[in-house]
């Protein structure tokens, strides 16, 4: 199942995305937007943020620099 979206994005961002398509890095703009959103959500998951905090605490306690 898919859904259509309408969004305003900066010209420059749009042009960069079009370049990716024209160079063959993505099959079309739908693919670029789909992949961008997926990666954004992946990289911002709470679990990821929490794992970084736990790593930080370990380094803070026992790191060597």
């Amino acid at each position: 199942m898919t859904c259509a979206i309408q969004a305003e994005i900066p010209d420059q961002l749009w042009q960069q995305a079009q370049t990716l398509v024209s160079q063959g890095w993505a099959s079309n703009m739908d693919a670029v937007i789909n992949e961008s959103l997926r990666r954004y959500l992946e990289s911002h998951q709470d679990v990821l943020a929490e794992s970084f905090i736990k790593e930080d605490v370990e380094w803070g306690l026992n790191g060597n620099n």
């Binding site: 960069q16 990716l20 961008s36 990666r39 954004y40 990289s43 911002h44 998951q45 709470d46 990821l48 943020a49 929490e50 970084f52 905090i53 736990k54 790593e55 930080d56 605490v57 380094w59 803070g60 306690l61 026992n62 790191g63 620099n65």
Partner: protein
């Protein structure tokens, strides 16, 4: 022995803003210098200008570095902002292998470039190890994070962190908690 190079770091806006809100920028005082890319400098200036006036840390404003294809590609993949992108470029340009950031996407991108990243909480805990602050003070600062900063952390996780730190320090005979 700490080398000069290992004592150089690049900072993203988050830790500078959060630590200043906690009146704790001095936990960075043992770094030889902290490079602040121009975009980050402007972001901090917008949100927390007084952080840039701190006398206890050596913040060095850096002009926007020359973009590299590697960081450009990572920026697209991880949707990095200007400041994060410039911070990664600076790390590469100056062979600095530590980035101070609380942003997960920036930290992921840095990891793929073999750049170590540390955030506000790690820097606070480290300050006790480096004898920059008393352990009891650090525990108080950790407790103040939700009230005094905009650092996003689940309350139960913060409690777990505080309990873990307390436990480790209580088990360490060289550390006094009172």
């Amino acid at each position: 022995m700490v080398t000069i190079k290992s004592a150089l770091v690049v900072a993203d806006a988050g830790p500078l803003i959060h630590l200043d809100k906690l009146s704790a920028l001095d936990v960075l005082s043992d770094y030889t210098a902290i490079f602040v890319p121009n975009a980050v400098w402007l972001e901090v200036f917008h949100h927390r200008p007084q952080a840039l006036q701190a006398s206890t840390v050596k913040l060095i404003r850096q002009l926007a570095p020359t973009p590299t294809a590697k960081v450009d590609a990572l920026s697209a993949v991880y949707t990095l902002h200007h400041g994060e992108r410039e911070a990664l470029e600076l790390c590469l340009n100056h062979s600095v292998n530590t980035l101070l950031s609380d942003d997960s996407a920036a930290r992921l991108a840095a990891k793929s470039l073999n750049i170590a990243t540390h955030g506000t909480i790690g820097l606070l805990v480290r300050a006790a190890r480096q004898h920059l602050r008393a352990p009891a003070e650090i525990l108080t600062l950790l407790e103040l994070i939700p009230q005094q900063t905009t650092l996003h952390i689940r309350p139960t996780l913060l409690n777990e962190v505080i309990e873990q730190v307390k436990f480790e320090w209580k088990s360490n005979p060289t550390i006094t908690l009172t």
